[in-house]
């Protein structure tokens, strides 16, 4: 099975502008309201910034945790599908997610997870991030990139 692609943020590039939240919430019909955004950024003062969203874990703990079987992981692309009729907002999945990537709809009291902007050419947050800090990627591709940049830092930059 090919690895799932998910939206990852680069902490060196992320500046904490929150444009990803605005674009996401707009896409989901709640303009400029981070409470409805599937990606949330966190700033730890003074200088740590990071956008956080669903990692599309394999054997996703949120799916396992749901007592009403309202969550299901897509076989096709791995996104977590929420059946809003079954979900009663109990919050077990929220607790199970180690990344805080699941949020509760303040009005409807059902949960929301990143769906990679199904139907769009690419996730809106990736398209709009002005720092190119967000990308649609896999763990394997992240590892390759990290490897190359580590070697560059360790060797190339000391040589040249």
């Amino acid at each position: 099975m090919p690895e799932h692609e998910f939206v990852a943020a680069d902490p060196d590039k992320c500046v904490g502008c929150g444009i990803c939240e605005y674009i996401c919430s707009m896409q989901k019909g709640h303009p400029f309201n981070p409470l409805y955004s599937r990606i949330r950024f966190v700033r730890i003062y003074p200088i740590v910034n990071l956008g956080v969203t669903c990692r599309l874990c394999e054997d996703a703990p949120c799916v396992i945790a749901c007592p009403r079987k309202a969550l299901e992981q897509s076989k096709e692309n791995g996104v977590i599908l929420v059946d809003e009729d079954k979900c009663d907002g109990c919050g077990w999945c929220i607790e199970a997610c180690e990344f805080g990537a699941i949020t509760l709809d303040p009005e409807k009291k059902v949960v929301h997870v990143c769906d990679l902007c199904e139907g769009e050419p690419q996730p809106k947050c990736v398209e709009w991030c002005p720092e190119e800090a967000l990308e649609l990627t896999t763990r394997d591709r992240l590892a390759k990139k990290a490897r190359v940049s580590a070697v560059r830092k360790l060797l190339l930059e000391t040589i040249t």
Binding site: C17, I19, P31, F32, N33, Y36, Y45, P46, P130
Partner: protein
């Protein structure tokens, strides 16, 4: 309503009552937001001539129409307005970060806070639920501690907090309001007004969407604006930041040094933007919805101030660097951090300490007064400790807490001659002795010494005019700058993005309509800028301003710049009068700088003419008498 939340919140801290009223569309269109809302609300809600610390002096928070949206760098701007305890005139200060966007989502455009609480409180705005909370555990804490404690007490790390430090509590006249740790509504001492009301903080959480009139049109236009935000017009802010000015100003001899004794600094290199970026900046980050991002966070890796973080800009580097004769950025970064913690305006406080240094060198204050601190120019290690002394009013800090104008009056000994302020507000970092368009802008600025009300230094520095000479037409440059900046501060845009707005009124009017759905032409917006400028003048005149107050510090007029390419330059009384005459005439005001009935009618401000009616009449009589007596003299001759 679109864009605007459509609601004004009134809070009376004397009786604990809160109320809301709708924001009317006519009012919104005529005054736009920010400054416009601030001036109009203050004029209408403040009893004339009250003391700034009187419970009757309202403290006003106002947003622009774009706050809480994706419009670049407008996302979280907010303005604070009140009668200033520094100038006793119009007080205004702007901040950004994330607090403003939260207030918009909570559903408000303006907050008007009146009265005075008996005990320390903070305001907790949770959408429609507005509560006045006990702040006993917050009083005496720094702004950062206050922010952390409130978030912890309310159990939500996403709550946004604007608070005062100990300075505001102690009615230090340069006390400011801080939000999101590093962002300040800094100038004109509004933190002290907040302190006088025993109001420690305003905490906000909002859960509403921000509906805009044309979401698709806005998104499309914003995509283009975001591109421009990454283009040449914002290069400076994205790379070296405003600290780039240090070496530029030094070359032009407009870097005020050692409390304005000279205009070039031999230590400029090591306080430059280039040096800062190479040795101290560890992160450049953004405010809400800003693709430009300019917040340069510096970190001190070693030495006595190891571990300190500070948000760096040119203005505090001028105030704590060249103005204090300090060539070590560690001292500057530490001082800035202390200012943010204790809640004082980092510009004014640096200029106050520079003033104290000159007093110290001249023997007007001694080590007994400073509590043992070394206060010669250049004392970078002891300098940051002065912030705490001023905020807590310890030793000489008690006098200095009053600002340089009042401190020099108390101290005497000729110190008035080197108290660098206009209208009681300390000078910002442009040596206007050799920037004569800017000199006019500073002299007439409604909030006292200020480059941010007009931006008139631009034409001087770029060489569009001969900066060492005065001439006809400078009045028009300053007026246009002021009216545009009125719109900039009403919309409220971040001025660092001013270059991305084409027209600039065309793009701003277009954005206004996309967001609010209210039709707006560039001409209407231009007129609104002039309207707001005039209304602020009326407010200031009501509170006692006259032509004599539109002046410059003694040193700017009497002490020529001794060094650099601006050597010998100063602004004489004759030059200042020439500039003022030109400016008042261009504005359509009287010779004494009073808005006329015709001008006010043109701006739909007739209702406010009564404020200055008497002054205009008296001036007419004086002019008649003068011309008659002249005639008689000529007849006699």
């Amino acid at each position: 309503m679109f864009g605007y939340a459509g609601k004004i919140l009134h809070v009376d801290l004397s009786n604990g009552k809160t109320a809301t009223e709708p924001l009317e569309e006519d009012f919104a269109k005529a005054y736009i937001g920010g400054t416009g809302f601030g001036v109009k609300t203050l004029l209408d809600h403040q009893k004339p001539n009250v003391d700034p610390f009187d419970p009757e002096n309202p403290l006003i928070f106002a947003l622009g129409p774009m706050a809480g949206t994706m419009v670049p760098a407008m996302g979280s701007k907010y303005g604070v307005f009140s009668k200033s305890p520094e100038s006793n005139l119009f007080g205004e200060a702007y901040s950004t970060g994330f607090w403003g966007a939260e207030l918009r989502r909570a559903g408000y455009d303006i907050i008007v806070i009146k009265g005075k609480s008996k005990k320390p409180v903070y305001l907790w705005i949770d959408d429609e639920a507005v509560q006045i909370m006990d702040a006993a555990n917050l009083w005496g804490q720094t702004t950062w501690e206050a922010e952390d404690i409130i978030r912890k007490d309310l159990g939500d790390p996403y709550v946004r907090v604007a608070s005062i430090g100990q300075a505001g509590e102690n009615l230090v006249r340069v006390g400011c309001i801080m939000n999101d740790r590093t962002r300040a509504a800094g100038r004109t001492g509004l933190g002290a007004v907040m302190g006088s009301k025993k109001l420690k903080a305003v905490a906000v959480r909002g859960s509403h969407d921000v509906q805009v009139a044309d979401p698709d049109g806005l998104a499309e236009f914003c995509k283009e604006l975001y591109e421009r935000c990454r283009g040449p017009s914002t290069r400076k802010y994205r790379t070296l930041g405003t600290a780039e000015n240090v070496l530029v100003h030094n070359r032009l001899a407009c870097l005020p040094t050692r409390n304005w004794q000279s205009a070039t600094f031999e230590g400029a290199e090591t306080i430059s933007g280039e040096y800062l970026l190479e040795h101290f900046v560890v992160k450049i980050q953004a405010c809400s919805a800003c693709p430009m991002r300019c917040e340069h966070i510096a970190y001190i890796p070693e030495g006595p101030f190891k571990g300190t973080y500070g948000r760096m800009e040119y203005q505090p580097i001028y105030a704590w660097g060249s103005c204090c004769g300090v060539d070590r950025l560690e001292g500057v970064i530490k001082a800035v951090e202390q200012c943010d913690l204790y809640g004082v305006d980092a510009i004014s406080t640096g200029v106050i300490v520079a003033f104290a240094m000159e007093c110290y060198e001249k023997g007007l204050i001694t080590k007994d007064d400073t509590g043992g601190l070394e206060l010669n120019f250049g004392s970078w290690e002891d300098m940051p400790k002065m912030v705490r002394k001023i905020a807590l009013r310890e030793d000489v800090g008690d006098v200095l807490a009053e600002g340089v104008k009042r401190a020099s009056e108390k101290m005497g000994g000729g110190s008035e001659k080197f108290a660098m302020h206009i209208k009681g507000v300390e000078m910002t970092g442009y040596d206007i002795r050799g920037l004569k368009t800017a000199a006019l802008g500073y002299a007439v600025s409604r909030r006292g010494a200020d480059h941010q009300r007009h931006g008139a230094y631009g034409v001087d520095i770029s060489g569009k005019v001969n900066r060492f000479k005065v001439g006809k037409g400078r009045g028009k440059i300053v007026m246009d700058g002021e009216d545009f900046y009125c719109i900039a501060d009403s919309m409220i845009i971040c001025k660092f993005t001013r270059g991305i707005w084409q027209g600039p009124y065309d793009d701003l009017a277009k954005t206004y309509t996309l967001v609010t759905g209210i039709p707006m032409t560039p001409e209407e917006l231009y007129k609104a800028g002039e309207r707001i400028s005039n209304l602020a003048r009326l407010y200031n005149m009501r509170e006692g301003l006259t032509r004599a107050d539109d002046t410059l510090p003694y040193r700017v007029m009497q002490l020529p710049i001794p060094d650099g390419i601006a050597k010998g330059s100063r602004v004489t009384k004759k030059e200042l009068n020439f500039l003022l005459d030109d400016y008042y005439e261009t504005r359509g005001w009287t010779r004494e700088g009073v808005p006329t009935q015709e001008k006010l009618k043109e701006l739909e401000l007739d209702a406010y003419f009564k404020i200055v009616e008497k002054k205009v009449k008296e001036e007419k009589v004086k002019v008649k008498v003068r011309s008659r007596s002249k005639k008689e003299v000529s007849k006699d001759a």
